[in-house]
């Protein structure tokens, strides 16, 4: 099987320094960069599937030139090679452009499965994988908690998380899957993996390499951020210490005052 995994470099949420720059775009210099969390679950699932069924995992990233640093981390987990779409004309790209570009790059690979995170920690629109599926005319199996391909039958089954549990959904391959943390924790790269990642190939593609008409001229994006501000802080609350019984009484008083009990 060939599995393409969308891996987006994002500011490390754990570093706590994500912010927008004066142009209301993500300030990429403010934070160390990591592979988007949900994309790591996708990558881990892809690696396990290839270990079970054979084949290769290819990571696909649209990012500035230094995006290769983060791609090396994904390669160190065990991906065979990378595709890096990078072009100055894509700085600040909107969702439709991102979808067109990723679909064009993925479309050059004869893949069985295309996996991506359910959403990203810096964008969180959660629409990229669905958009790429639609653009490629492929079925989408979204919000995956478990992935079970049957390569002989050319089908894949996914447990799709629902409000009540999960739905078992099925589609013919090739198919596109959006991935959640319920797939299981990603592995840590081994030292051997880190060494090997240095020599794994990353193919760089410019916009022109992928075809015409993928991005609007002069960055005329369909959407733009016009203002950004810090979130409104809540009014300072009250702190309670003391015995559990006293604390319980205080909580009960507090709730009763607000007619919550």
């Amino acid at each position: 099987m060939r599995i393409v995994v969308l891996t987006k470099p994002v500011p490390d949420p754990a570093a706590g320094a994500e912010r927008l720059g004066p142009d209301n775009r993500l300030d990429r210099a403010a934070s160390p960069t990591v592979v988007n969390g949900n994309d790591e679950y996708a990558l881990e699932a892809a690696l396990q599937l290839v270990e079970a069924h054979g084949g290769e995992v290819v990571i696909l990233t649209m990012a500035p030139a230094n995006g290769t640093e983060t791609m090396r981390k994904a390669l160190a987990m065990g991906a065979a090679r990378g595709i890096h779409v990078t072009d100055d004309a894509l700085a600040g790209a909107d969702l439709p452009t991102t979808i067109r570009v990723l679909a064009a790059a993925a479309g050059q690979e004869a893949f069985d499965l295309l996996l991506g995170g359910l959403d990203t920690s810096d964008g969180a629109g959660g629409a990229v994988t669905a958009g790429v599926a639609a653009r490629l005319g492929l079925p989408l199996l979204s919000t995956a908690a478990h992935i079970e391909p049957d390569p002989a039958a050319g089908r894949v089954r996914v447990r799709r998380l629902s409000a009540k549990g999960y739905d078992l959904v099925e589609a013919p391959m090739p198919a596109v899957i959006s991935c959640t943390q319920a797939l299981g924790a990603p592995r840590y790269p081994s030292l051997k993996g880190i060494m090997a990642a240095r020599s794994r190939p990353i193919a760089a593609h410019s916009l022109a390499d992928l075809g015409d008409g993928l991005a609007p001229a002069d960055g005329a994006w369909a959407t733009r951020v016009v203002a950004a501000e810090p979130p409104t802080a809540r009014a300072a609350g009250r702190t309670v210490t003391g015995s559990a019984t006293d604390a319980a009484r205080e909580i009960a008083d507090f709730l009763a005052d607000r007619r919550l009990i």
Binding site: P11, V132, A175, A222, V226
Partner: protein, 324 residues
């Protein structure tokens, strides 16, 4: 071109979801403010009931009977109907930011190239372009975003818009389904998991167990308080990752966004990724042993103490006040 704003409704257990009524209210408000028209869309195997509900909010509702939705995922079918309505003059589309809603929005963007304003809490007009407010970067910023072109898609978070019915109910227009442009995955089986049957988003009270709960058994005190308060149990990512509660219970950036009248957190540290899913709650009470837990920054009442002592004591106190 006058605005023609479409609200895409979602059906659960034969009824309109609350978020759908909020999307409908927003679509109507946007249309009225622009001197335009609003309409609604219900695509379901049995759309009549929810379409009649939706007509309480909108002057016109298109009801598509799509038998396939009984055993196929909805996004390709709903996207096909929205695409048809875009061809008939719809300028803006409002969709709930749910699992299916995001799939529908993404499918539409892939098919049409329209812009998406994602995760809006509210929307208004600046001239002839809608401006949405969204919380981004795990709660570190609030942005205002707009569309450059004359049409586009908005996904709406729950709770930002209060649902209100129209003065005069609208008309329902039944339609035959169109053919989806993309193949739909087949649903072989729908599996319900214990503890996941009630909607977190619709709950008036949410009692949340965090890492401090320590074990699946520890959730008994969380469940007890939820029961007493008429609420539902929520969880943090840490307690879901530990396998103590199903993912459907997770509140936060990668889970549900809740805005209950009361959020009661037990052993919840309050990481930014969790707070983005609960900081809109009306009243926040938290119990934590760690006085430096960041949840203190958003709590109206912050109790420093052991949840395994405070929670049972609170349960007893509530019972006593209710007369045993």
């Amino acid at each position: 071109m006058p605005a023609l704003v479409l609200a895409v409704a979602e059906v659960a257990d034969g009824s309109l979801t609350r978020l759908s009524t909020e999307a409908a209210t927003l679509a109507r408000a946007l249309a009225e403010a622009a001197g335009g028209t609003a309409l609604g869309l219900v695509v379901d195997a049995a759309p009549a009931g929810p379409a009649a509900e939706l007509a309480g909010y909108l002057p016109r509702v298109v009801a598509v009977t799509a038998a396939e939705l009984a055993d196929q995922v909805p996004a390709p079918h709903v996207a096909a109907e929205v695409a048809r309505l875009l061809g008939e003059g719809v300028t803006h589309v409002v969709i709930g930011a749910t699992t299916d809603g995001r799939d529908i929005a993404g499918t539409l963007v892939g098919l049409t190239g329209l812009g998406l304003l994602a995760n809006a809490d509210t929307a208004s007009w600046d001239g002839d372009a809608p401006v949405t407010r969204s919380v981004v970067l795990g709660g570190r910023a609030v942005t205002e975003s707009t569309l450059s072109g004359g049409s586009g898609i908005i996904t709406l978070r729950p709770g930002g818009v209060g649902a209100s019915e129209a003065a005069v109910p609208g008309a329902v227009e039944p339609r035959e389904p169109s053919t989806p442009a993309v193949p739909a995955a087949v649903v072989l089986e729908r599996v319900a998991e214990a503890g996941a049957e009630v909607s977190l988003e619709d709950a008036r009270v949410v009692v949340v167990g965090g890492r401090g709960v320590g074990s699946p058994e520890g959730f008994a005190v969380v469940e007890e308080l939820a029961g007493l308060l008429g609420g539902v149990v929520g969880a943090t990512r840490a307690s879901v990752d530990a396998g103590w509660v199903p993912y459907a219970r997770q509140i936060g950036q990668t889970g549900r966004v809740v805005k209950p009248a009361l959020y009661l957190g037990l052993g919840v540290s309050g990481a930014m990724q969790h707070r983005v899913g609960m900081q809109g709650s009306e009243v926040i009470v938290a119990v934590n042993r760690d006085q430096d837990a960041p949840i203190a920054e958003v709590a109206d009442l912050f109790v420093i103490g052991d949840l395994f002592q405070v929670a049972p004591a609170l349960a007893t106190e509530i019972r006593v006040r209710r007369g045993g």
